[in-house]
Symmetry: C2
Subunit: 226 residues, 2 copies
Amino acid sequence: MKASDQPEFEPASRIEAAEISSAYVRPPQQSRSLAAYKRITSAARDILIENGLDGFALQEVAARAGVSNGALQYRFASKERLLKTVITISLEDVVEKERDMHHDLRKTCASIGEFMPAYISRYWQIMAAFHPIFSSSIDVISGDAYLSALGRSIGMRNEVMAKNTMLSYFSHPTEALIGSVDAVYHLVFSYILREIHFPSGDPGSADVLRRTRALAEMCEARLTSI
Amino acid sequence: MKASDQPEFEPASRIEAAEISSAYVRPPQQSRSLAAYKRITSAARDILIENGLDGFALQEVAARAGVSNGALQYRFASKERLLKTVITISLEDVVEKERDMHHDLRKTCASIGEFMPAYISRYWQIMAAFHPIFSSSIDVISGDAYLSALGRSIGMRNEVMAKNTMLSYFSHPTEALIGSVDAVYHLVFSYILREIHFPSGDPGSADVLRRTRALAEMCEARLTSI
């Protein structure tokens, strides 16, 4: 793989230092404050998913989190900061889940034939879990330099991890194999993205399961035919 | 193929009769009126693509089409009717292009190996040409029963045509082949949709061309391996 195909994951902390301070509210150290922070961000996340951006109201967040309006205001200052904090937490959750997934899959899948269907299924779950936040907040993310950069870096990071895991099943990474790994990665990503945004059928239906199995088999066939 | 996999294309005229009358403005018969109608709808299409829905103003359409505000008002009554007429014309244009594509491809591609890359490329062009209208008017389409039905019927129609063309390259349509044709169709559709909405790179770049070629080869391999 050429160096240009393997972008380094830009650590969140580096972007954070430059740009995040005005929006993201860090978790407090003290345990009682931390508990309230978690209740608030979790309630805010649920309300964002349920109501969308237009129906996202601080009063409802405070009521559901069991804190006063004043305490919420004191901690998060504005609706915008609370919103961006929730989105940041959700994006960081995606990073963590992807890392765990690759860790598990490398341990449990003995061959590329076992890896492909497991990867498609696990990665689909991660993207589906994030989708409600993403679709509610796409305008907020695209209008915020830090959140856009974080989103892009998560995408690049997943691409690199997925390609490296696929390559780990082969002893000899030829140029042809690297090209196929690239095509396979993008095909899987396109398939999942489409099924989440414009489903071809119910996710658990026989039709969709058959299509997903065919995709995994086509990917395996491509990678092992080289 | 089971009958349920082959939805009949619901003719536009049938839906039209029930629901279209209040929105769509039909082309006039008289040639001078028809010329003005075409100038207006073409200018409206360009302005919708350039400015999006928020910047779509009747005065600008009239000016660009070279008709008076009064004449535009007389023909189309409201911005909404003009907009829905433009969207209907664009959707009907997609139908016509898809029909022509399948007609050409069946004549010019002697094998499934020739058909796959040609189909991906031609269908991508059709979807890319429609994309600016679609992304400007997705809320109008989803809020209008006729336009939603027309959009769905175009999707079903393309699916049936594409599957039938693929099957025409094989003498014996087994259940396994039919399943693979279905998976291949959805994979190609997902891939094109993703490259149009969230491009993995510049459409003419070496990376994207290599991915597209790999997809065509994977589809051919799947269909001929059965």
